[in-house]
């Protein structure tokens, strides 16, 4: 969903951007993501973080820069500046560029991720503040065999996105809602999605998708119940 698929990559599942070299990646985009993920030097990281990098935080009591972050069920060791936001860490340290930065001020919702299953703006969260929490990004929604999450599928079926930039954030908000309220009314869904702007104005399509996902999730749990 988060990708503009303008090349000849195979259909979903996409290769996962795990730690380690990427074997299957063919596109330039995935190659770069792979390089970031494997921790090798890449210029985009350099230019973004030179400003604060020279400063050491060695004083007693200050946070250690090296930490292990629980992202999408994986423990990812990563070097994080004290002033680094979660959005920056996810995008530029871990290569999880599905999380978008819109305003970087907590005013648009494009950067929404789940922190312990609660929707949060990753642009307004310090990475060090979520050290011991479970973070889920849009990349973490796919099933073990790369199948789409029920909300992602509903977004496609309802033609939810137009330009797609706000979509990862919209989906994360919807997922957070359905975790605590699997059968929301349309008004409840509208309320839960109100922290995500869409400048294409596709709000009603997104709402349709959330309601469809709630229905689909319902059927899913019914069929799974006897197991």
């Amino acid at each position: 969903m988060a990708d503009d698929r303008d090349d000849d990559r195979p259909p979903f599942p996409e290769p996962r951007y795990d730690v380690g070299p990427l074997s299957k990646a063919t596109s330039r985009r995935n190659f770069i993501k792979g390089v970031i993920a494997s921790g090798a030097a890449v210029s985009s990281v350099g230019y973004l973080f030179t400003a604060g990098c020279s400063r050491s935080t060695g004083s007693v009591g200050g946070v250690e820069r090296m930490l292990v972050l629980n992202v999408n069920g994986q423990m990812r060791p990563v070097d994080v500046l004290p002033q680094e936001t979660l959005a920056m860490t996810l995008r530029y340290r871990l290569g999880l560029t599905g999380t978008k930065l819109g305003c970087d001020r907590g005013e648009c919702g494009a950067c929404t991720v789940l922190v312990d299953d609660v929707a949060s703006y990753s642009c307004s969260t310090l990475t060090h503040a979520v050290r011991n929490r479970a973070i889920t990004t849009i990349e973490g929604l796919e099933g073990p065999n790369g199948e789409l999450h029920v909300v992602q599928q509903a977004m496609i079926d309802e033609l939810g996105p137009q330009c797609g930039f706000c979509t990862p954030g919209q989906i994360m908000s919807a997922v957070a809602l359905l975790k605590v309220n699997p059968k929301p009314t349309r008004d409840e869904a509208r309320h839960a999605m109100s922290g995500n702007l869409c400048r294409c104005g596709a709000y009603d399509h997104y709402l349709n998708a959330v309601m469809r996902a709630a229905d689909a999730g319902d059927r899913l749990s019914e069929t799974r119940a006897p197991v």
Binding site: S59, P82, T85, V118, A119, T125, L126, H128, S173, G195
Partner: protein
Amino acid sequence: MSRDMMGAFELYQPDTVDGAVALLEKFGKDGWALAGGNDSLDWFKDRVKRPKYVVDLAGISTLKGIRESADGGVEIGALTTLTEIERSELIKGRYTVLATAAARVASPQIRNTGTIGGNVCQDARCWYYRYGVDCYRAGGNRCYADTPEGQNREHCLYGADRCVAVSPSDTAPALVVLDAKMLVVGPKGQREVPAEQFFIGPNVDITRMTVLEDGEVLTAIHLPMDWSGARFYFEKVADRNTWDFPLVNIAAAMFVTGDKIDRIRIAAGAVQCVPRRLTAVEAVVTGQPKNAETAGLAGQSAVRGATPLNFNHFKIPLLQNLVTRAIRDA
């Protein structure tokens, strides 16, 4: 220059209040207490505030949670999120006005991480001040909002003193009507400040909005029994339903016997630098029947003495109508 990358600072994550206070005392003017980060990080990204040391309070478990206190009231840890307050059965049942107010703050994601302490301690939202100009509040010697061209639609009706910024909080008026006590811990020990006195105007200190001194931390908010289970009213009017700060908000708590208003507290936000307790309204309606006539009189008495700026005259009828509705519909 990028206005999105924060300047470097050292981050400290103490796990006790004493530890946090000791750090903040040591760092003095170079220190910054961080709660949810929704206000703080904006300041840092804009490079308007550049603390050298940031003390993250989120790791202090004693600052979190909602519990019943010994006197039968409720104590809310300052780092309790607005979502937790909005959903708390205890708050919804006894102090509905606070749950309603918390639910109207900003957006769902901000309420998920934003704390009650951060909401009441957030800095002024005047856009000139936020832009980083050298206004009075920033230590300069002029106000950019109160000029013939200044855009002051969101600014104050009362209590202007060089600065015309308003209290931006939705929960603050609710805490004032509940007569909440703010527990503050600092280098000199602990003190308890009534919510009404917690907020200060530019006439007291133009560079801050609360009584918190350097090194002091708001640790908890205590809601006394007095207003538990009263009849409540909260309404916020803003340009947008999500995110936006109030143009005016109103909170009221009252006890009514038969049709007579026995006791009442009522306060409005975004009309003054502090949440404005409307004592004139309280005097007018106490002992009066709760009906349309009383409500109308209350509305009129609420706006006496308002001195609008160039672009915020609309706040006068807005405040008047909100007070009328609060008395009529509570």
